[in-house]
Symmetry: C2
DNA sequence: TTCACTGCAAATGATTTGCAAAGCA
DNA sequence: TGCTTTGCAAATCATTTGCAGTGAA
């Protein structure tokens, strides 16, 4: 259903974006990029994206989904969010931001407010800060 | 809590601590608790603890290590820290605190400074905050 | 004695990889 | 065309589980 019509020029734009990131715009990468980037920011697992591709009538193999997610991440198009020891989430919002994580439902949500972390000490010598992750774990009690 | 006559009567104290947490002080739980709690705060993986037990001349099975770690966590003696999608870390410091995570070496370090997170919005209705995790990812660039 | 706990090995679930076939430049 | 990428299935890796034997109370 998300096929072709939705946003004209979409496919060309997606291809361009992939190419700009140094990735050859193959069919499956285009499809996955479309699912990921055409509808606002998203948080997906490999399994979910795989399912969506299947439902979109264009099945790709799970292995390809994993490969693409990592390639997109390495290319700076995605950010990996680590909240569960057993599953990886990928976030299309690559700006610095924080998350709510619903432990009961396994759902990840962006925190849109400007969160400020103060009082952080200097990192150990010889190292530099790569990223500061803030995860607010919530429960439906 | 870790105060008092720290080193003496270690085994008896460990047994008591386990019992107080509702866990029967079996041989292997005592050993693991000793490795975990007798030498200041620690961050361990199941594999590391398993190795230490073996080196201590008292091998326990990996499955038992996993079971014990989770039982300790459920009993409130440990806290699980999630920084890698592929491996679980357990922290003997159960107070609210933050971590440095060295992505190159896979090493976890407590941040002792008083870190303050401000600007967090209310959690979605129907949920309550369980915990706020802050992980400062560092790299030896 | 009883029942929770342990150990092993097999099961699981997410992720990865090897290699032949297919697609992009 | 040549070199990348895909797809499948088998391989891995950390972790969990089933079940018979062991040990704490």
């Amino acid at each position: 259903m998300a096929n072709g019509k939705r946003a004209q020029g979409g496919t060309a734009r997606i291809s361009e974006r992939l190419r700009a990131a140094g990735l050859r715009p193959t069919q499956q990468r285009r499809l996955l990029a479309e699912l990921l980037f055409q509808h606002g920011h998203r948080h997906v697992t490999a399994e979910l994206l795989h399912l969506e591709a299947k439902e979109a009538g264009y099945p790709v193999s799970l292995a390809t989904v994993y490969n693409a997610l990592h390639q997109f991440t390495d290319a700076g198009l995605l950010q990996q969010v680590i909240v569960e020891p057993s599953q990886s989430y990928f976030d299309t919002n690559i700006d610095s931001h924080q998350h709510f994580y619903d432990e009961d439902e396994g759902r990840l949500t962006d925190i849109s407010a400007a969160v400020c972390v103060s009082g952080l000490p200097q990192p150990p010598k010889g190292t530099k800060v790569q990223r500061v992750d803030v995860v607010v774990r919530i429960r439906r009690s």
